[in-house]
Amino acid sequence: MQNFEYANPKTIQEATALLGSSWSDASVLAGGTDLISMMKEELTTPKRVVNLKGIKDLGGIHKSGAGIRIGAVVTFDELTENPIVRSEYPSLAEAAHGVTSPQIRNMGTVGGDLCQRPRCWYFRTGNGLLAMKDGQSLVPNGQNQYHAIFSNGPAYFVSASSLGPALIALGARVKLVSASGAREVTADKFFVTPENENAREIALAPNEILTEVIIPSGKGVRNATYEVRQKEALDWPLATASVALTMKGGAVGSARIVLGHVGPIPYVASAAEKMLAGKIISESVAEEAGKAAVADAKPLSQNEYKVQLARVAVKRALLEASGKKA
C-alpha cells in the first residue's frame, strides 16, 4: 500500500470538497472491503482517502413518500435486518444476505456494493480493467469460467454488484452529489459498459459521492432474488436473478427481470419480461421465462454452464416471487 492523506469529513459538503477531478486524486472509504484490498494490491493508489462513515446524513433507512431512501453507508446487515426492507423488498434483503461473509455484511455498505470494482482476475492481477494485451482482451482465449455471457467486448468482466439487479428490478434511483450540485440517475443507467481502458463501469464521476438510493413503493410488487453460489462461505455468485412483478389478478401485469454476474453491467432480460405479461406463473411458465432470459447469451470458451445457471436463477426467482418456492 502506498502512503496517502486521510480525511475524515463530517458533512457531505466537506467530503465533496475533498475530491478531485481524477480518480487518482482521492478515493472514498465506506466499509473498505474492496478499497483496502485494491490499495494493498496497488491497483489504486489514491493521494487522499476520504472516510464517509463519519457523515451522519449518509446513514439510515428512511420512509420517503410511498418508498424508502437508503443512505450510502448503510451496511448489508442493516439492510437485511430492516423491517420495511424485509417485508416490502425481500429481493433486496435476499441479495444483501447473499453477500458472503458475515464480516463483509457487517462492514460492507450499499454505496460500496454499487461502486466496487470488478472481481475479474485479469484486472485484479494487474492487467487493466479490460485486460487488453496487444489490442486484444486476454479473456476470450484465457481462463474465463467466471466471466460474462452477455458481452460483445471489449469488457468481459462481470459487474460484482449484489444489490444492483434487485435495485434495477425495483425501479430504484441513485443520488450522486458533487461540490457543484446533485443529480439522480436510475439504477439501470448507473451501470455502464466501459469501451476503453480509461473508462469506468459506473456513471459516478471522480468528484462525486453516491449519497443515497431511492426505491419507490414496493407495495403489491412481488419480488425475489435467487443467487447461484457454489459455497456457503465467502464466495461470489456465479449468476443471480432479481425479479419484480406487479400483478393483475392472479396474472403478471408487468415484470422486471434483471440478471447479475453475467455481464459487465446487470443484464435486463427484456424478452423474458415481455413474455411474462398476462401469464400466471407456473413451473413451466417460469422455465420458459428463464429460457427467454438467456436466449441472447454468448458464452465464452469456458462458461457455457453460466447460461444454464442464469436460466435456473430466473426460474427459481420467479417461483419464489409468486410464492411457489422452487
Binding site: W121, T125, N127, G142, Q230, K231, E232, A233, Y305, L309
Partner: protein
C-alpha cells in the same frame, strides 16, 4: 533396563483419555504468539521483489535508488544478471527497512530488465506441452493385453486432479537476527531441530551457531521443512543492518504462488474384471506436474496392488510454475482418486454395488482383513444398505443423493527423537525436546505420556518444545511425530523414574525394582500402603536433580511405535442437477492407527483432514493463465476453500481395538487426508448417473458432465 512397553489398555490413567489441547486456551485467546506475531525491539521489515514473468533471463538489475531511500537499511539481489527465471514469483531482490511501507516503496524503486522467454504453464492438454513432457519407462507385469481380452467387463476413462497449494494460514517466513556468525532464528517450520543446520549451510556458518525457537506454527502440511532463500537472505539483511532482527513473511499472493504445490494427476485408466467383479487387469497412461520439477507417478494401482496384469506409463511435465513440496500424503490422494474412480466406474459397468466390488477385491490389497472390517464399519455408519441406489437411479427432482467410497494406506512409524525428563527435588517435572507442535496436539501428547509414566496428573508436567537447544527430535513429516516423541518421552520418563526409585527404595526399605509410580505416589507393587507421595519421594533427592534421556531409534522401536495405517472413507452428497452444486451431507472416516494416546486430538486430526478433502474435491485449484504465465487466483477469494457451512457432517470412527493397540503408536497426519476426494467424487457419480472426470467438482464441471459436454 526398564520395561518401556506401554501399560496395558485397562491400566492406563491418562493415555487413551479424551484430553483437550494444553495450548487450546492460549491459541483461542490470542495469547499464543506465532513466529509471525513476534516484534522484537529494533525490528526491521523486509519485502521481496518477485518476477512478473514465468520464464525470463535477468538482463540487469539496478538497486541504487532503493539503497538511497531513507529508512532502507539493506538491499540484496537474489537473482543476479544472467539468472534464468523459471516461474513467475521467483525472488529477484529483497529489501530491509524500518517499516513495511518503506520496504515496499524501495522494492518499487528497483529497476530490472528481463529478456522474456517462452513459457508453458498448463499441463491439462498433454499434446500442447511439447518438449516439457518427460516420459518414464513402461512397467509391465503379467500379460495385460490377454487379460483385457479375456475380461468380462472393461471400463476406460480419463480422470484428473489439478495442482493445489498448501495455503498455510500463517505464511512461510521468519524473524531472524544475525551478528557476525551467530544467528537467532524464529521461523514458521515443521523442523525445529534441522532447519538451523539447513540455514547454516546457506550462510556458511557452523550449525551450532544457529539458535532456533518456535512456540506455535500456523500450518505447514508438508511445505515448511527448508529454511528457504527468504530465510538466509533475511539473515544477511540483518547482518548488513547491524544485527537488528528482520521480519519477512510472504504475502498471500506470493505464498500461493511459490511456497509449494501438490502435483496434479491426469490418467487414462483402463480396468478389466470378471463378471463377479474380480479385477484382472489395469492399464494407465498418466501425467502430472507440480511445477518446474515435473511430477512423479502416483502409486497406482493404489492399495489394490496385487492386480495380476498391469501396464503403467507415466509422463512428468515440467512447467514454468512454482515447485511442488510434500503435501499431506504426497501423491496418495491422487492415487486413491485415480484408483477408486476406476473401480467405481467398473462397478457401474458391471451393474454391481461398488461396496461389493471393493469387498470382492480386498484380497489383492495389502491388508485384506483390515479393509474388509473397515468397509463394513463405514457402510454401517453411513447406512449404505439403506441409502445406496444404483448409479443414476436416485429419486426424481433436481436434488440427487449419492454415496461413494475411498481407500487409503500409509506408513507413519516414529522418527528419530531424543527427549530429556528432569525431576526436581520440589517434585516439578520437565520434558524437553526440540520437537514442534504443528497444531496437531504434539505438546499435549508428550505431557500425557510423561504423566502416565510418572503416575502424575497432566498439570504436573511442564513440556518444553520448539527450541533447538533441547534434545534433537525429528522434523514433522510423513506422520512420524507422534510415534517418535511419545516413544522418546516414554523412555526418558521411565529412565528418570528408575533413578527416583533407586533413591526412594532404600528410604522405605523396598527394592527399587518393586516400586511403581501411580496416582501421585511412589509405592510398593502389591502393597499400596507402603510408599510416599510424589512430593515426599522427590524431597529424598536432597539437592540433586534427576535428568535422564530417552531415545526413539526408528530401527529399534521396541514395540512402542510402528507403521502401516489403513482407512476407509465414505461420502454422502446431494447434487442440484440444475445448478451443478454439490453439498456434503456426510463424510464418514474409519481409521486404523494403532495405539491412540489422545482420542480427542486424534479425531481432530481426522476432522481436519476430511475438511481438506472436501476443499480439494469440490473447490480447490490453482488456476494458471497460459497467456500471462501467472497464477490468476493467488488469493483467498478465487482460491476457494470450504467454510463451516460447506463441510457437512463428519463422522470419525477410530479403530481403537486391543489388536490395533498391540501394534504400538502409528502417525495420523497423512492417513485421513487421502481417501476423502475419491469418496466424494464417487458419491457425485452415484448421485447424478455420470462420472465427473475432473476435480474439483465445481458447477461448471458437474453441468458439463451432465450435459455431455467436453469438460471446461
Amino acid at each position: 533396563m526398564p520395561d518401556y512397553s506401554w501399560p496395558p489398555m485397562d491400566k492406563r490413567r491418562v493415555i487413551g483419555k479424551r484430553t483437550s489441547r494444553l495450548d487450546g486456551t492460549a491459541k483461542a485467546s490470542g495469547k499464543a504468539k506465532y513466529s509471525s506475531d513476534l516484534n522484537p525491539p529494533g525490528l526491521l521489515q523486509a519485502a521481496l521483489l518477485t518476477s512478473p514473468h514465468a520464464h525470463a533471463k535477468v538482463k540487469s538489475i539496478d538497486t541504487s535508488a532503493a539503497e538511497k531511500m531513507d529508512g532502507v537499511t539493506a538491499v540484496r539481489v537474489m537473482s543476479k544478471p544472467g539468472t534464468e527465471i523459471q516461474w513467475a514469483g521467483t525472488e529477484i531482490a529483497v529489501v530491509a527497512a524500518t517499516s513495511e511501507a518503506i520496504a515496499r516503496d524501495a522494492v518499487r524503486a528497483i529497476k530490472v530488465e528481463y529478456e522474456v522467454l517462452p513459457h508453458v504453464v498448463r499441463e491439462d492438454n498433454l499434446a500442447s506441452v511439447g518438449n516439457r513432457a518427460k516420459p518414464a519407462g513402461e512397467q509391465v507385469t503379467g500379460d495385460p493385453d490377454a487379460a483385457f481380452k479375456a475380461a468380462d467387463a472393461v471400463s476406460e476413462n480419463l480422470y484428473s486432479m489439478p495442482v493445489i497449494t498448501h495455503c498455510c494460514l500463517e505464511p512461510h517466513g521468519q524473524v531472524i537476527a544475525m551478528s557476525a556468525d551467530k544467528v537467532n532464528y524464529w521461523p514458521s517450520t515443521q523442523a525445529v531441530s534441522t532447519v538451523g543446520g539447513d540455514i547454516a549451510r546457506s550462510l556458511e556458518i557452523p550449525a551450532a551457531n544457529v539458535h532456533v525457537q518456535m512456540d506455535y506454527m500456523g500450518g505447514g502440511f508438508g511445505s515448511k521443512f527448508p529454511s528457504d532463500k527468504w530465510g538466509s537472505e533475511s539473515a544477511l539483511l540483518s547482518k548488513a543492518s547491524g544485527g537488528k532482527p528482520v521480519k519477512l513473511f510472504l504475502d498471500r499472493a506470493t505464498e500461493l504462488t511459490i511456497a509449494g504445490t501438490r502435483p496434479s494427476a491426469f490418467a487414462k485408466v483402463k480396468i478389466g474384471a470378471k463378471k463377479d467383479g474380480t479385477i484382472v487387469a489395469w492399464q494407465s497412461d498418466s501425467w502430472s506436474s507440480g511445477g518446474f520439477g515435473g511430477g512423479g507417478m502416483p502409486p497406482i494401482p493404489y492399495v489394490f496392488t496385487k492386480i495380476p496384469n498391469y501396464r503403467l506409463n507415466h509422463t512428468a511435465v515440467s512447467l514454468n510454475a512454482g515447485s511442488a513440496r510434500a503435501w499431506r500424503a504426497p501423491n496418495n490422494p491422487q492415487a486413491s482418486f485415480l484408483t477408486c474412480s476406476a473401480l467405481d466406474d467398473l462397478a457401474a459397468k458391471l451393474k454391481m454395488d461398488p461396496l461389493n466390488l471393493f469387498l470382492k477385491n480386498v484380497d489383492i490389497t495389502i491388508r485384506p482383513d483390515t479393509y474388509r472390517a473397515q468397509l463394513s464399519k463405514a457402510a454401517e455408519i453411513i447406512e449404505w444398505k439403506k441409502n445406496w441406489r444404483p448409479r443414476g437411479e436416485n429419486a426424481s427432482g433436481h436434488i440427487r443423493r449419492g454415496l461413494g467410497i475411498g481407500i487409503s494406506t500409509w506408513g507413519g512409524a516414529g522418527h528419530a527423537s531424543k527427549a530429556r525428563t528432569t525431576i526436581h527435588p520440589d517434585g516439578s517435572v520437565e520434558v524437553e525436546l526440540a520437537s514442534q507442535d504443528l497444531g496437531s496436539g504434539t505438546r499435549t501428547v508428550i505431557a500425557m505420556v510423561a504423566a502416565e509414566t510418572l503416575g502424575l496428573p497432566l498439570s504436573m508436567i511442564k513440556v518444553k518444545i520448539g527450541d533447538s537447544n533441547y534434545p534433537v527430535s525429528g522434523p514433522s513429516g510423513g506422520s512420524t511425530t507422534v510415534g517418535g516423541v511419545s516413544s522418546s518421552t516414554r523412555k526418558a520418563a521411565m529412565n528418570a523414574l528408575q533413578k527416583l526409585f533407586d533413591v526412594v527404595g532404600p528410604s522405605i526399605s523396598a527394592p527399587p525394582d518393586r516400586l511403581e509410580a501411580i496416582d501421585g505416589k511412589i509405592r510398593m507393587i502389591g502393597n499400596p500402603d507402603k510408599g510416599l507421595s510424589w512430593q515426599q519421594a522427590c524431597q529424598k533427592l536432597g539437592v540433586n536433580t534427576i535428568s535422564e534421556m530417552g531415545e526413539n531409534d526408528p530401527k529399534r522401536t521396541e514395540g512402542l511405535n510402528t507403521g502401516g495405517a489403513s482407512g476407509i472413507q465414505m461420502a454422502d452428497v446431494s447434487v442440484d442437477i440444475e445448478t451443478g452444486i454439490v453439498k456434503m451431507n456426510k463424510l464418514v472416516a474409519v481409521q486404523d492407527c494403532g495405539l491412540v494416546i489422545n482420542p480427542k486430538t486424534a479425531e481432530s486430526q481426522v476432522l481436519g483432514a476430511c475438511i481438506m478433502s472436501v476443499c480439494s474435491a469440490l473447490m480447490e485449484e490453482r488456476v494458471m493463465d497460459q497467456q500471462t504465465g501467472r497464477v490468476l487466483n493467488a488469493d483467498m477469494e478465487f482460491y476457494k476453500l470450504a467454510g463451516i457451512g460447506d463441510i457437512g457432517d463428519i463422522v470419525v470412527h477410530m479403530d481403537i481395538t486391543p489388536e490395533n493397540d498391540k501394534r504400538g503408536i502409528i502417525g495420523l497426519g497423512e492417513p485421513p487426508a487421502i481417501a476423502g476426494v475419491a469418496a466424494i467424487a464417487n458419491a457425485v457419480a452415484n448421485a447424478i448417473g455420470v462420472r465427473v472426470p475432473s476435480i474439483p467438482l465445481s458447477p461448471n464441471r458437474v453441468l458439463a458432465a451432465l450435459n455431455g459436454r467436453r469438460n471446461a
